[in-house]
Symmetry: C2
Subunit: 429 residues, 2 copies
């Protein structure tokens, strides 16, 4: 039987999940894959936490120096589970140079340094497994590379950040405002103390740049992803969306527009009857359109110790079984995409204006919109007892540029109480 000797660096949430799965499932991997996964060495800052678990792996050593693991000729596969882009970069870089297969859950590293690292892997005739780096437990990367490998992608949409999806779900179901829902998410461990990375859409941007590059075989650099987070979404918008038959989701999306690529992260409104709209709480999902197979969707857990670890271990099995077999390396280096100017596309918009309660408000607003070629599909203004009045407009397809210009003028009118809100409708998928 073939042995795969594993060096695990970083035994935190995901790393300890990997140890647990290896303990429980190694017999079944021998039986079902003919592979003996041997945990050979673990490097961690907190060895006392894993000491007891490691008694189940009598031949595993605790190695305080990760440099020794990445150089150890007895190790085949290095798991980089420390996170960040400093030490993690050094680990992956050195492991590849030493001919190790590398498995990582580190989307920041892959999104920022992927090109360099994949080139290094190719030069050293080894592979990097990144299934756990996007959408934790969902086997979406393998599916793009193999199951959908014969196909040609037209668009890929992701709900890829559990924190923001949890916050938006709580806001809707418990009628909370953003800050209240964020607080609950923080208390339950679904949001960090500093939630910027998640709520501003940066995490989703990392992930969509990775998925988009693989799906379209074109490099989509993180810098070319337009990013907008959820911090400006109010409970009012969520409520209006519901009344109109929509639900607000933070989407990462990559689409082909002629020969260009549109790549963005932003809150959009999705028809509530679409299966994609029913991905609630901390769940993740990827929806795609392709030339032959699509549309299709994958749904699953995006984070967590065992879910993410299950993807790490499936990468060990997959790349471990390919190691030293003269398999052609998977293609991970692509020509850079030509990014489309996003404001060229015509899409419908939800606009919300907070106004004084006096005659002529709607006429002034609609005049500005009309001056910019934006025609109105529907208007909703509920009866209220006191100011302000919320005026909701759904437009016919318009460009982002014209929407922005109009809102700038409208927000300067004296009848407007505070900054207007514009959210795109994604109703054509």
């Amino acid at each position: 039987m073939e042995s795969i000797r594993i060096g695990l660096i970083g035994a935190g949430t995901v790393g300890s999940g990997v140890i647990e799965i290896l303990k429980k499932e190694s017999n079944s991997y021998r039986e079902n894959f003919g592979l003996d996964l041997v945990l050979a060495a673990v490097c961690t800052r907190t060895p006392e936490k894993v000491k007891k678990e490691l008694q189940n792996f009598p031949s595993c050593k605790i190695e305080p120096d990760y440099q020794k693991i990445v150089k150890d000729p007895a190790i085949d596969v290095v798991l980089e589970l420390v996170g960040g882009t400093d030490v993690a970069y050094t680990i992956v870089n050195n492991a590849l140079k030493n001919g190790k297969t590398v498995i990582t859950a580190n989307k920041a590293l892959i999104s920022q340094k992927g090109e360099e690292l994949f080139a290094l892997a190719e030069a050293n005739r080894v592979e990097i497994g990144i299934e756990a780096s996007v959408a934790g437990a969902i086997p979406v990367i393998r599916s793009i590379k193999t199951g959908l490998g014969s196909d040609s992608f037209l668009s890929l949409y992701g709900i890829l950040n559990g924190t923001t999806n949890f916050i938006l779900s709580k806001m809707e179901l418990e009628h909370l405002d953003y800050s209240e829902a964020l607080k609950i998410a923080q208390e339950l461990g679904f949001a960090e103390k500093d939630p910027t990375f998640d709520v501003e859409g940066i995490d989703t941007a990392h992930k969509i740049s990775i998925l988009g590059s693989l799906a379209f075989s074109q490099k989509i650099p993180l810098q070319s992803v337009q990013i907008e987070g959820i911090t400006k979404i109010s409970g009012l918008d969520i409520q209006f969306a519901g009344e109109l038959g929509y639900r607000i989701k933070l989407l990462g999306l990559v689409r082909k527009i002629a020969d260009k690529i549109e790549a963005r992260v932003q809150p959009v409104m999705i028809p509530v009857k679409h299966p994609f709209a029913n991905i609630m709480d901390e769940m993740n999902a990827v929806y795609y359109q392709t030339v032959y197979a699509g549309p299709g969707m994958f749904v699953g857990k995006g984070a967590g110790s065992l879910p993410t670890a299950s993807s790490i271990v499936s990468d060990i099995l997959y790349y471990g079984s390919r190691r030293n077999k003269g398999m052609i390396s998977e293609k991970n280096l692509f020509p850079e995409a030509v990014i489309s100017e996003a404001n060229g596309a015509l899409v419908r918009y939800y606009l919300r204006f907070t106004t004084v309660d006096q005659p002529g408000v709607l006429s002034e607003i609609s005049k500005v919109l009309g001056d910019h070629g934006i025609s109105i599909s529907s208007v909703r203004q509920n009866e209220v007892e006191k100011e302000p009045v919320e005026v909701v407009v759904i437009t016919h397809p318009a460009t982002e540029e014209n929407i922005k210009k109009s809102l700038k003028i409208i927000d300067g009118l004296s009848l407007i109480r505070h900054a207007s809100v514009a959210i795109r409708l994604e109703d054509k998928f």
Copy 2:
């Protein structure tokens, strides 16, 4: 560059889709996979239909005798796309014996003869690709084998038959009865003239026996799948389901119950808010629970020329790239599952009784249920102007055995107009 020489047998709906994809995408496969997919020979009963298309493949010959293709030493991969279990069996059998990799979309063949054929493949050190045999364009088989390969399945639910899902969707959305919806499905080409295979659940049973065996690493023979189709579902049941917050779907399901396996195909009611309930029309989906990664779901097209062909071609790329690399064969031979007696499980039921309009009806019905230990969770009886009266009961968890016994007695009562209906609620997933 590595060449994969393909012999295509059967150029009907799926086969002609394969030819189209190979024509359009071969360049990108050379670029992205380093594989040159060469269509070397085509065997079809209607060569005139593909003649024009094959002008794009100057080195491809039309070979009237499939026996020559399966023996041709210049062919690496044989595509069995003739369907059925007679000629198809001979093709696959002989191709394997001659050391060819086989790719097939034939769920009947795999479900009935899979064990023998996989053993033959192993003996000849080649592989069989079956991605297209279940859920057409959804890469669910590859996902079970690789992306979720590290995990351990607890349950797998499939909406695997587009015909029945289309009929059920039409019945609900257009308020039709079964026979009316069937007629539309037949007119649109979603149902065969003789729809038995689909509407009686046999097609789903084939597919769930294949998926279940792979997911649980236990052989689930077709004969041990309990099968119930959709022909007894009425528009009334669909309407009541909707009022109660449920939707009726024909599910194939495989579940672990202690050390046994439950395998069945039947119409069940799913909470309408569950993403699985929103798989409408001819779409397919697989929902799963596992120890580590799940729950999760895959959604996509289950049939059609190009969707199914896309899975065939992805199998060519996948198994073609593994060919002659000394890869360990995937495990496809499993010990036979111990099948649980299905009526042991406690589940909730929707019961519908068609009764005369007279006092005491509900009391008689509930007495029989009570005598069998079945307690009632809710009752709905709408006011009607003329007989019959429809009485709908949702039970607390009960065994199938007790439900059947009760209905047998109730259906013998003089107050019952015709056979009562029982549909399981799947509300715990």
